[in-house]
Amino acid sequence: MLIYWANDVYKIGWGDKTILHFFPDSFYKALHIPFRLAEGMGVHFVFMWLFIINGFIYFLYLIISGNWRLIFPNKNSFKESMQVILHDLHLRKTAPPQKKYNAAQRIAYTLIIIMGLGSVLTGLSIYKPIQFNKLTTLLGGYEWARIEHFTFTILFVLFFLVHVMQVIFAGWNNFQSMITGFFVINAEKEISLQPALQPVHIDENKSTLETGKNELVSEKNEDIFLSEKEDDDLHEKINEDE
């Protein structure tokens, strides 16, 4: 399979029939990467360490800090993620209540961790397919592992694109919170800040706050929503506001 790393000059001149040519020549040209396989591999096998170390530290941090609770999906996430997606596509008026991350985010951010692990394992199995031949076999053999590794790469790119688009849609306050670590709730005279650990949220009812229910996300930066006791009421309220 000519997936990537393929050096086009050999393929055209000397190769067998090409069944699948995943990236057209224009793709390589646009990125200025034709004939730079050696360099690309060198960089790949250096930055793999950053990828592994970074992923490992992030995962450890999630576990030790307890923040995994905000990220890993709970039992409602799978159902709610659909509603979030419909909401984001403007096919549904309300989004389900959430904490810092909505259900779709929870699933996406958990998947990205699994994908990271998948990239490392499939990568190792094609980097050293003989020394780690058991792993390679487990992943369906060398050629399958290559395809899997490549698929993960494409998924990472798609994740990145959607992620950046969502950040753009979410607006400045969201973006600045990614950088500064706090989210501006009320930007009038006094500015109220929360650690970015937690959602955009103002709740006057402390008891509901502790149960973690009835939380609201403000979509407009300076809006303050008051929470109601029941989700339904809450959604109605958003509808009214909108």
């Binding site: 990537y4 190769g15 050696a38 360099e39 591999m41 003989i130 950088i179 800040l193 709740d203």
Partner: protein
Amino acid sequence: MKMNEEKEIEISSKKFRNKSILSFAVFFILIVLAIFFWKAIRRQPRIAGTPQPIHKVLTANEKLFSNFLSNQHLAKTYPRSAAAKNVRFNGNLGLKSNLDTSAWKLKVVRSPGDTLFISLDEIKALPKTELVFNFKCIEGWSQITDWGGVKFSDFAKKYNLNVQTQMKYAGLITPDKEYYVGIDMPSMMHPQTLLCYEMNGKPLPLKHGYPLRIITPVKYGIKSLKRIGTIFFSNTPPPDYWYERGYDYYSGL
């Protein structure tokens, strides 16, 4: 859950502004540093076409992963029927010049001034090993291919290369000296490394390295040199064609 509960704090706009500025300053400084760092790496002096820092990591990778290489770790083998009939031809480096195949003899330099000349028939008389494995090219393609020849380790035993195979590397060169590779001795002595004279049960075609080539499954195909002229031994890494062009010296699998 306590630590995950939302905390709201109120701060003055001035403090907010200062915090924001600081955060964004750090953010942009990190971006600039990353770009600077990347450019600095690329500006470093190059060793064999590779910037020094990258070269260093690749050497460390080699050290780490060569620990896993052993004669117990074998490339997966396949039944003969799985082998490709139309074997991919991917390079004619070292094959461009004419070769008087009848006069060909393998040169094995045991030490300076002590060279063995071994004919193809003598090599064919050694115990034959057949190997059907997935040949992997550094460019990304792979193909199940069928090879026959003598294990280099058997060959070394037969020709009393004990002292030589204690050295760290073997170097192989084509008769026209256009193509050359260096292979670490553990890979050379690996039980699947063959001095190969057959492909699909027939004599090697010229373009696949007749009369004799090396097949080393524990390396990418760039190390499986065709048409061997000379084999020599060294404690320092022998010259390697693709290494000089930026590829990893080890290229181990």
